[in-house]
């Protein structure tokens, strides 16, 4: 079967504005969604669910959030780890203060709290840009790690300084806590990510997304055609932080189960998510997924091949991972700033014209 646009005519602007204007893309999308919801939880074993699928979903959520801010609105942030911590601690405080609250609300409210905090930390973006803004967000990163370490109220005065997620259920099925089934955790996280990705898509296809991109591409022109920079930047910070906060809440409650802020939400996490969107593709929703997939899979792949099959030392695999990620970043920054998503688009364009070059 050929990948073709021909014969797939659009008779209305509504059809032309679809997320996937090409029928084959649409089918592929729904097939993947069906596989993810209906097949994966029943065929993938617990090891792969825990080691690959769950972290992928969590990091894809975070990458999506950062991509809205950095990829779409052009505001670089190095505070992702810190904002994830805000989401995690907000979820923890909510769960312990209101034990009856449904976990879905906990996670979403944690996102809302993070959105508020993100809004506040977005204020400097009205004055400073680029490198200086990145440094300001870096300050946020360190501030939150410090805060959640220093103020015992946040971890409910536990002796270890750790926070631990209590058990919560949806429809009577455990989704947090050590006894929750990986498949249940996976479905819960997947559902939330699916919803958020849909929101992100909607926001980026319309007025809001265009005002973000306008600010990114040329803020002066954006303002002169009527974009309020205050509103555009702050909304990007708020929405992005909401996503990142939800990711932090999921990371802690569903994936880790218990967390210590320095270890779980350090600066390395900020960079990890930034690398995901650079490699995956700035300003692309698909790119957020691809970048998260690659950076989650890479260490697992290296470990499986190098350590388990070739019996190399673990540290070699770890070093190799750093080198590969570093190389990829340099490659994409120099040759393809729009990342894997753009390579994918170009490949499709070629395929569409194949075998005729014009």
């Amino acid at each position: 079967m050929f990948y073709r646009e021909a014969g797939d005519f659009k008779t209305s602007y509504r059809e032309d504005m679809q997320t996937f204007p090409i029928r084959l893309d649409r089918r592929a999308y729904w097939t993947i969604v069906a596989l993810a919801f209906l097949v994966a939880p029943f065929v993938v074993n617990d090891y792969w669910t825990n080691a690959v699928l769950l972290p992928f979903l969590v990091w894809a959520t975070a990458a999506l959030g950062l991509n809205l801010l950095t990829g779409y609105c052009g505001q670089v942030s190095l505070g992702t780890g810190g904002f994830m911590a805000v989401g995690a601690f907000a979820a923890y405080k909510l769960m312990t203060a209101f034990p009856g609250m449904n976990i879905v609300f906990v996670v979403l409210l944690a996102g809302v709290v993070t959105a508020g905090v993100g809004l506040l930390f977005g204020l400097p973006s009205l004055r400073i840009k680029g490198f200086y803004l990145a440094v300001a967000t870096l300050a946020a990163q360190f501030f939150f790690v410090w805060l959640f370490n220093k103020v015992p109220w946040f971890y409910n005065y536990s002796a270890s300084g750790q926070i631990t997620a209590p058990e919560r259920t949806i429809f009577g099925i455990l989704v947090t806590g050590p006894s929750a089934a990986p498949a249940a955790k996976y479905l819960f996280t997947l559902t939330i990510l699916f919803g958020l990705a849909w929101l992100a898509r909607n926001l980026t296809r319309g007025k809001t997304g265009r005002s973000w991109m306008a600010i990114r591409d040329m803020d002066i022109a954006a303002e002169i055609i009527g974009v309020d920079p205050l509103k555009a930047k702050l909304s990007a910070f708020a929405v992005s932080s909401f996503f990142v906060g939800v990711a932090g809440a999921l990371f802690f409650t569903v994936y880790l189960g218990s967390a210590e802020v320095t270890e779980a939400f350090g600066i390395d996490k900020s960079f990890l998510v930034l690398f995901m969107i650079i490699i995956g593709g700035l300003g692309s929703i698909l790119g957020s997924f691809l970048g998260a997939a690659l950076l989650v899979l890479l260490p697992v792949f290296l470990k499986n091949v190098m350590v388990d099959i070739l019996h190399w030392e673990t540290y070699i695999a770890a070093h190799l991972e750093l080198m590969i990620v570093g190389g990829l970043i340099i490659f994409f920054l120099i040759y393809e700033p729009h990342g894997l998503a753009q390579l994918w688009r170009l490949a499709k364009e070629k395929l569409r014209l194949w075998p005729f070059p014009y």
Binding site: L199, N202, K207, M213, D217, I224, I225, V227
Partner: protein
Amino acid sequence: MTSEAITHGGAMNPEGDGWVTPDGRHIGPVVLEVKNITLRFGGVTAIKDISFDIREGEIRAIIGPNGAGKSSMLNVISGFYHPQEGEIWFRGQKRPPMKPFQVARQGIARTFQNIALFKGMSVLDNIMTGRITLMRSTMAEEALWWGRAEREELAHREAVEKIIDFLEIQHIRRTPVSRLPYGLQKRVELARALAAEPKLLLLDEPMAGMNVEEKEDMSRFILDVNDEFGTTIVLIEHDMGVVMDLSDRVVVMDYGKKIGDGPPDEVRNDPQVIAAYLGVSHE
């Protein structure tokens, strides 16, 4: 008859506030008036005590040698520069100091001397962004793609397609603007400004760097916009031929001062204007 109408050789319209041009277009009352504007950058005075008015439906040219302060004048009107002295009157009211996006919402759109398109976006998205002041749906509606969000997007898309047809850029609709040649980029920028359905359109050297054919196209578009939509246009242009052909009245600037103001053929023969241009290189 007012002296303006006499110098235009046209007939007064019934309201007595404006005139009809020889080619039958109606020039209406004053829409925007700058009064005694002075703009300084540190020691440099870019604009010195300049006043002029812009009438509804006219094409008003601003000419002058390089560095005369023409672009600065547009930047003052669009709220990007704030003059140290002077007032701006828009539709009979004195305008308080405004941010550019607020000016845009009053119905004033513009293009830039150096193309200022959104490089990461397609032609279609660039032009759609031009309609941002006309969009009303809230962020919540958009996030859920519900209620007004989709309806509005469709309606605006339709309007944008009309502009795309009007400017004959259908074939590049989906192209990222950064891939377009210079002349087409200028045209897309005009499309983006038109998308806002402005009352007043400010064009900063829309034909700079174009070849003769491209200039002819652009001239035709500008005339058509003025004629079909009744848009009032302020045009900065170095090409005297174009200015003579297009404009109803011309402001001449030199070293930040206004040295002439009137219909094109009158201005062209003004000794002061000729002196300003003598020996001054201008494209």
